[in-house]
């Protein structure tokens, strides 16, 4: 009975999903009510998680873990899920995707992510992963009558199923060669000589790299980002990344820690490839969602660089990077949600021209967020990169650091291009001025956080400093 207490948030979320489904079926036109209750249950789940004891607890035969990392990541997942729902309210309404399934599926996928984050066993992990992936396929194709959305859903489904297959195959290899699915036992039984298990590790890394959209497993990202409804894109860009990176950290540093020399070079490769491709491929994009897709690929490259360092400070820097990335992207998508005239949402970056004249405050916050994404001091994005490269240079990976910082210069180019369109080009017709309050709040919050982060940068460091994995 004692163990039940520890998974109260998960239980509560599952109960909420079922209850909301019933509610949606029995009460007609209940989208507003359901989305409100979804947000409330997310907030309540955050409260439940924050209430958990501040120690490492392993339950269900050590197959589920509650520690600082999982608590931090779960809170992050739930709160950004809230923000995404809040900021996309207006978009959802005007694009006729305000069906009751929409918030419920988001909630279900969030539950899957929470399970992934807490997993301490290959089977639990895979169950969580599948739950969130299945929901994400549906979400990608949520705009049923839209060709691109359907295509995005299908593409994502086929590719992701392949990646899940590889991942599962990797899990079975690991099980076969180490005799257990439990992370700690795997860790104890793994060593360099265990070639079969090394194959398993490679397969698992491939699957995880697909989830964080690291190059060369990134092919789905631009198409899915572009095709999905923007509200779903913003969800894709933010929430699943948290779970994926957290699982990445957990896998590399708990079961696979003894074979660090085997996976380290793979992660370095993934990181460098993502940074370079993310910087170069985004230059030619004119669709802002596609551009954000490549930008997120690049950012995941930097986050992976922290993992590649193989130290606690590396993990912490990855988590800091992730948090700042989330805040910046929340703001960026907030700006994208505001590109609206007469209920039509625009995605071409040229539509932004002259934003500075028509909407000076919106332009200013977009400016701040874009410079921050480019990593220019004194904005938050600089500190994110700074911590990562601190960790990378600590272990003397100079090549990774040089390549990483040079790619920031390349990627600065396409962020500057957007700024150029906003500030230097001739104005076009203004966008609609009626902003939704949820959108306003998340945009203001994120741009102010990005702007004033430099005043007291230790705040995030303090928050993650207790997250020690090994």
């Amino acid at each position: 009975m004692q163990t039940i207490v520890y998974i109260l948030p998960e239980l509560f979320l599952s109960a909420a999903i079922m209850f909301l489904l019933m509610l949606g079926v029995f009460i007609k036109k209940s989208f507003k009510l359901v989305s409100l209750l979804t947000i409330l249950s997310l907030v309540f789940a955050i409260a439940l998680i924050l209430n958990q004891p501040n120690e490492i607890i392993k339950i269900f035969n050590e197959s589920y873990i509650i520690d600082r990392l999982s608590i931090f990541m779960k809170v992050l997942t739930l709160s950004f899920c809230c923000f995404v729902l809040l900021s996309s309210k207006d978009y959802v309404k005007s694009n006729n995707i305000d069906k009751i399934e929409y918030p419920i599926i988001i909630l279900a996928s969030t539950l899957g992510m929470i399970l992934m984050i807490g997993a301490y066993d290959l089977i639990i992990f895979y169950l969580g992963l599948e739950l969130q992936s299945l929901c994400l396929y549906i979400l990608a194709s949520f705009k049923r009558e839209d060709e691109k959305s359907t295509e995005a859903g299908l593409k994502y489904f086929v590719l992701s199923a392949l990646a899940s297959g590889l991942l599962l195959y990797g899990c079975s290899l690991i099980y076969g060669f180490t005799g257990s699915t439990n992370f700690e036992i795997i860790s104890a039984n793994l060593d360099e000589a265990n070639m079969g298990a090394v194959f398993g590790i490679v397969f698992i890394i491939v699957g995880l790299a697909f989830k964080v959209s690291a190059v060369p497993f990134h092919m789905w990202t631009p198409d899915v980002y572009e095709g999905s409804p923007t509200s779903v894109t913003s969800f894709f860009a933010l929430v699943p990344k948290i779970a994926a990176l957290s699982v990445f950290i957990r896998f590399m540093y708990v079961p696979f820690i003894n074979v660090i020399s085997q996976w380290q070079s793979i992660i370095i490769f993934l990181s460098i490839a993502s940074m370079i491709l993310g910087a170069v491929a985004a230059i030619g994009q004119s669709n802002i969602k596609r551009l954000m897709a490549y930008s997120s690929i690049g950012h995941m490259g930097y986050a992976l660089a922290g993992i590649a360092a193989g130290t606690n400070s590396g993990i912490q820097s990855t988590i800091i990077y992730l948090v700042i990335y989330l805040v910046m992207n929340l703001g960026a998508f907030g700006c994208i949600f505001m590109m609206k005239r007469e209920n039509i949402f625009y995605e071409d970056i040229n539509e932004l021209s002259g934003l500075s004249k028509n909407h000076p405050m919106l332009a200013l916050s977009f400016l701040i967020i874009l410079f921050s994404l480019a990593g220019i001091p004194p904005l938050a994005g600089f500190f994110a990169k700074f911590y990562v490269f601190m960790a990378v240079i600590e272990v003397k990976m100079y090549a990774l650091a040089v390549i990483g910082l040079v790619t920031t210069v390349v990627s600065a180019f396409y962020y500057l291009r957007i700024i150029k369109i906003i500030y230097f080009d001739k104005p076009k017709r203004p966008f609609a001025k009626s902003y939704d309050w949820g959108l306003k709040i998340s945009l203001i919050l994120s741009s102010i956080l990005v702007l004033i982060y430099f005043i007291y940068p230790s705040i995030l460091v303090d928050a993650v400093s207790s997250i020690l994995i090994y």
Binding site: I376, P377, F389, Y398, L405, F424
Partner: protein, 500 residues
């Protein structure tokens, strides 16, 4: 003294900018109040730095007015402090900023509010560069300046502004990220990024060369040294007058300051090792860019190239590592800050009236704008280093310093003095004398009141420091001697280490 005067100086412009940002109301009122706020905060800051200079103790080489606050818990502190070298740059910055604001108010026709915000933010960041005593903090301010400058060039610039703004931004960023790697490496090698501690720590020699090159990549682009100077003419030409003034008067000096404070202070062995490289590049810069300047038909471009040449003197002076050379290059930077600012303002004056920067569109201005011709003459003469102007003091001392180290370099550099006379005088002749080029010129009005005040202050300082540079020497003297002493003892330490 407990009052955090340096923080106050750094953040007053930022607070002014915030005030301007949040003012609401009718457009006309906003513009007017933002003008007042900008002028007031920049002038207040100037007087505060005068007070700072007054209370500055010139008898010690220690860092003064040191402030320390927790910032990044555990490894980096928010640390400010100044010595005799940095205080002059701070004075220059707070002196130039109000001039830019006046000039901007005068000549910027749209988005004035945003322009003033950008200039004030820029001032904060520039002051931060000169005050910070921590490498990370220094980098933060050094790089942060890119954002407002990019906007100043891009929004209020000339026809090719987008290209120039991008070139400026990406060039400087590329140079600087390498410096960031070096800064982080320094942290892991020595365990601190605190400049005061680092000046006492001896960084192992094998690291110094690469670290020096990384810092060099950043400063050489910013200064700019040949062959990294190509962004400068573009940026200068396209930037609005106030932008060019900031760029020439202060941004370039940040690199010279960086060379002095960090390259010499932290990496003496590498500085010694790379001195021939610096000398070569500087001599090429002086001669080559002077020749290029000679061939320009765009006034701003000509002055931009002459800046590169003048900065060549600065680097020669710094790396000559003699007292005369170092003091000369500081004075040269100060006077170049005044003179180039004034020259760009001079171009701005006629550009505002005729909207052309081409030398060929002008001629015969002496009859139409006599006051302007007079002011322009003073600055042209100062730029070519006429005795009695501050330009002479700097160049002369640099050459004296260079002669002690390397006669060949000194002789070649002196060629630059002649060449600068050639292109400046020729510029003056073509613009001011000769036939009146067109009927529009006849309608051009002479200097108005604001312009006269701006130029009067610049003329006064240029001539004052030309005749009586003592206050400047007085301020920098001990700090420079100390810098050289430290450098020499450190170098000897390393050399004996090698010999053993």
């Amino acid at each position: 003294m407990n009052f955090p005067i340096l923080s106050a100086i750094i953040f007053i412009p930022l607070i002014g900018a915030l005030f301007i940002l949040v003012t609401k109301g009718e457009h006309k009122n906003i513009v007017r109040s933002s003008k007042y706020v900008a002028i007031f905060s920049s002038l207040a800051n100037f007087f505060l730095t005068i007070f700072l200079w007054y209370s500055f103790d010139t008898s010690t080489s220690e860092f003064q007015f040191v402030e320390e606050r927790n910032w990044m818990e555990g490894f980096i502190n928010f640390q400010l402090g100044i010595d005799g070298i940095s205080i002059l740059f701070i004075l220059l910055t707070t002196f130039i900023a109000p001039i830019c604001i006046f000039s901007g108010i005068h000549s910027i026709k749209f988005k004035l509010k945003e322009f003033l915000i950008a200039i004030l933010v820029m001032e904060t960041l520039m002051l931060g560069v000169f005050c910070s005593l921590d490498l990370v903090l220094f980098y933060l301010f050094f790089e942060g300046g890119l954002i407002p400058m990019f906007l100043i060039i891009g929004i209020w610039g000339g026809p090719k502004r987008v290209y120039s703004a991008f070139k400026f931004f990406l060039f400087t960023l590329l140079g600087s990220v390498l410096m960031l790697i070096a800064i982080i490496s320094i942290y892991w090698i020595t365990g601190t990024t605190d400049v005061m501690k680092l000046l006492d720590i001896r960084i192992p020699q094998e690291y110094q060369y690469l670290l020096w090159l990384a810092f060099f990549s950043s400063f050489a682009v910013k200064l700019p040294m040949w062959p990294f100077h190509t962004w400068l003419p573009d940026a200068h030409v396209e930037a609005p007058t106030a932008g060019s003034v900031i760029l020439a008067a202060i941004l370039l000096k940040m690199a010279g300051y960086g060379f002095m404070r960090f390259s010499l202070g932290l990496f003496p062995v590498a500085s010694d090792y790379f001195t021939p490289l610096i000398f070569t590049l500087s001599v090429i810069a002086i001669i080559y860019t002077s020749l290029v300047a000679l061939m320009q038909d765009d006034m701003k471009k000509l002055i931009a190239y002459s800046s590169v040449a003048h900065m060549g003197f600065v680097t020669i002076g710094i790396f000559s590592l003699t007292k005369q050379g170092l003091e000369g290059s500081i004075i040269q930077m100060m006077s170049h800050g005044l003179i180039s600012a004034a020259l760009f303002l001079c171009v701005g004056v006629v550009y505002d009236r005729l909207h052309s920067r081409m030398i060929s569109s002008y001629g015969g201005l002496v009859n139409i704008m006599p006051k302007y011709a007079f002011v322009f003459m003073i600055f042209v003469l100062a730029a070519l280093g006429l005795p009695g102007t501050s330009g002479f003091v700097g160049e002369f001392l640099v050459l004296v310093g260079a002669f002690q180290i390397n006669i060949f370099v000194a002789v070649l550099a002196s060629l630059g003095v002649i060449l600068s006379a050639v292109y400046m005088l020729w510029l003056y002749k073509r613009v001011i004398f000769g036939k009146v080029a067109s009927s529009e010129i006849k309608e051009m009005a002479d200097l108005n009141k604001t312009e006269i005040y701006i130029f009067a202050s610049l003329v006064f300082l240029t001539i004052f420091f030309g005749i009586y540079p003592e206050p400047l020497f007085n301020t920098i003297d001990i700090s420079v001697s100390n810098l050289i002493d430290d450098y020499k003892t450190d170098l000897n330490f390393y050399l004996t280490q090698i010999n053993n």
